[in-house]
Structure formats: structure tokens, C-alpha cells
């Protein structure tokens, strides 16, 4: 996304995040139901899940095929995470958490394909996920525990004089959770992809091209890590928040 214009180098590292109609140009009007590149890459993520978990496990083999064992690996990984972090009584929420994990995981990895669009770099997407988790967990906390859910903010193990101050801090941190939860994901993915584009722009200049290409390779490797780690972090934080909702007492 770099062009050697008359004035020198012009970078457009953010153009990769433009939402545009699938059969149109960047800047064309986008309505709610318009099929966009956003729709396309989300559909690919759904398709990947279907391929891995429906087509991949169609053998239902006791001794699994390679695809089936990957699907089982995902299942076991998230299942154990929910069980360990949130507790055995939270297994009923496992499908929701698994949906989140798989969506973020596949969206992140599909976004690593060159020329792709990254759904998880969009704050609109991650905010829906983050605030969705926040509201679900908060409502669940009140439904399960009633008013005693507020005990989450009253640190009974601290000295009495400190508790009001801690309560204020706890409340603030509780309401910051969805913001950090969503911006962490979007920020990581967006920053990585923008840096890739910047390096790609430098690669057009002969003198620094080798350096820039090494930079791309390095950043890309880092992004592969980030893609998996951010999916993991988002999921485990969801588990932690869910644990707070189910067991609000410290």
C-alpha cells in the first residue's frame, strides 16, 4: 500500500481496514445488510469452524483422524480452561465461551492472509464482544447471586478502613473491564497489521528493502503468536469475569 508519488513515499497502512461492498469500490455506501469484505471474512471464519468441527469430525472415530484430533484439541483446551478457571459449575457456559474463542481465533488467523481484512481489528466488533461479555456476566451475576453480587466490590479480607477506598477502585476497575477487554484485542491486531503494511511500504525502496522484508517476516511471526495469544487472553479473561459473576466473594 505504498506508492512512490511525486512528493516521495506515501503510506496507506490503514486502507486494509476499510469496509467496502464486496462488489464495489472503497467508499461506496455500506448499509446494514450490504455484503461487504467484512461479511466475507466473517463468513470464512464460520466456514473454517464448520470445516474443522463438522467436516473434520464426521468420522466420529475413536482413534481420531488428524483433523478430528485438532478439533478435539481445541475442545479439550477450552473445556479445561473453563473448568480450571471458572469451575465445574460453569461448564454449562462452555458453548458460549467456545464460540467466542473459535470466532476470535479463526478471525485472527484468517486476517494473517495477505490482502485480507481483519474483523477483529475493528473496534465495532471487539466492543460488541467485550461489552457483550460484560453485560452477560453482570446480568448473570445479579440473577445468580442477587444483591450479594455487590460483595464483589466489598473486599471483606481487607481492613475495614480500607474497604470503601478499595470498593471505589473495584467499581472503577469493573467498569473499565469491557473497555480494556475490547481495545486489547482490536489494538493488538490493528497495530500488528498496520506495522506490516508500513514495512511493506518501506520494501518498495531499494536500499532498505532487505531490512524491510526481514522486518515483515519478523512482525509476521510475531503476529502469528499474537493471533493465538489474543484469542486465548480474551477467552481466559471471559472465564475470569464469569467466575467473578458466579462466585462474587473473594
Amino acid at each position: 500500500m505504498a506508492e512512490s508519488a511525486e512528493g516521495g513515499l506515501v503510506f496507506h497502512p490503514m486502507d486494509q481496514f476499510i469496509v467496502k461492498p464486496l462488489f464495489g469500490e472503497a467508499g461506496d455506501p455500506v448499509g446494514m445488510l450490504t455484503l461487504t469484505n467484512h461479511t466475507f471474512w466473517l463468513a470464512l471464519a464460520v466456514l473454517s469452524v464448520v470445516l474443522l468441527f463438522v467436516v473434520g469430525t464426521r468420522g466420529r472415530a475413536i482413534v481420531p483422524s488428524r483433523t478430528q484430533s485438532v478439533a478435539e484439541l481445541f475442545y479439550g483446551f477450552v473445556y479445561k480452561m473453563v473448568e480450571d478457571v471458572t469451575g465445574k459449575d460453569a461448564i454449562r457456559y462452555f458453548p458460549y465461551i467456545f464460540t467466542l474463542f473459535l470466532f476470535i481465533f479463526f478471525a485472527n488467523f484468517l486476517a494473517l492472509i495477505p490482502m485480507s481484512y481483519s474483523p477483529t481489528s475493528m473496534i465495532a466488533v471487539t466492543a460488541v464482544l467485550g461489552f457483550g461479555v460484560f453485560f452477560a456476566v453482570t446480568i448473570l451475576g445479579f440473577v445468580k447471586n442477587g444483591a450479594s453480587f455487590l460483595g464483589l466490590f466489598w473486599v471483606s479480607s481487607a481492613p475495614l478502613a480500607l474497604r470503601p477506598i478499595l470498593a471505589v477502585i473495584e467499581v472503577i476497575s469493573y467498569f473499565v473491564r469491557p473497555v480494556s477487554h475490547s481495545i486489547r484485542l482490536a489494538g493488538n491486531i490493528m497495530a500488528g497489521h498496520a506495522v506490516l503494511k508500513v514495512f511493506a511500504g518501506f520494501a518498495a525502496i531499494g536500499a532498505v528493502a532487505p531490512l524491510a522484508i526481514f522486518g515483515i517476516v519478523g512482525i509476521f511471526a510475531l503476529e502469528v503468536l499474537v493471533a493465538a495469544i489474543q484469542a486465548y487472553v480474551f477467552t481466559i479473561l471471559t472465564c475470569v469475569y464469569l467466575k467473578d459473576a458466579l462466585h462474587p466473594h473473594h
Binding site: V30, V46, F53, A61, P95, Y96, A124, V125
Partner: protein, 182 residues
Amino acid sequence: MADPVDPSSASACVVDGSAIGMPQLCADWYLNQIFWLLVALVAIYFVLTRIALPRVGAVLAERSGTISNDLAAAEDLKRQAVDAEAAYEKALADARAEAQRISAEARAAIQADLNAAIAKADAQIAEKTAESEAQIAEIRAGASASVAEVARDVAGEIVRALGGKPDQGAIDAAVDTRVKGS
């Protein structure tokens, strides 16, 4: 990038195919993004809960069932092997005891035969010895009678050779006395 906003473009976020600022913050696209995100999430959720999770869960449960069954079967087989080994050891010990018993019996039988044979041989030896002793006694008796007779004859001849008249009675008495005294 510094071009003025093109009024014909429906989105103020994109000018000449390039983004102005962060496309992430372009409110024009929010509805579209959120709508399709929810569609995707619901799709994944239904694929998982309707098909994938029951299937994978069933496979995992079945596998752990199979594994525990196999482990139980292996445990059973191991116990059988231990039993079989114990039976084998017992059979071996029995066979060994039987062999010892048989060899002891055989040894006792042989010993009995041997004792009988020895006793028989001893009896025969004793019989022969008695017989021999009787013969020896007879021979000895015969020998001493002959000695006395020879002595009488020799004494008579000696007396005769010396020009004397042998008195048979005196010679007999003297020889008898001598033979007995010796």
C-alpha cells in the same frame, strides 16, 4: 491524502480509495459490522451446539469409556496371568514332591532288596563257615591221630635202630603223654 472530501462518495471515511484517519472509527460501517458479526457468532454457536459439541463430547466420552474398558480388561488379563503362574508354580511343586516321593520309594525298595540279599549272603557265608570249621576240626583231629601214630612208629624204629627191643606199651604211653602235653 489531503484531498478535499469528495461529495459524491457516500462514505466520508474514504477519499480516493484511501482511508481518512482510522477506519475503525468510521461510524458509517458500524451497523454493517455489528450485524454481520452477530450473524457469524450465532452461526458458529448453532453449528457448535447443534452438531460439533455433542459429537466431539460423545467421541471423547466413548474414547475414555473404551480406554477404561481396555484398562479393566488388561487388569483382568494380568490377574489371569498371575493366577496361571501360581497354578504353574503349584503344579511344578507338586511334580517335584511326587518325584521325590517316587525316588524315596524306589530307594526304600532297593534298600529292602539289598538288605534281604545281604542277609541271605550272610546266612550262606555263616553256613559255609560252619561247614569249613567242621571239616577243619575233622582234619585237625585226623592230623593229631596221624601224628601220634607216626611218632609211635618213628619211636619204635628209633629204638629198634638203637638195638633195643621196642616195648610197644611204653612207647605208646610216652607218645601219648608227649602229644597231649604239646
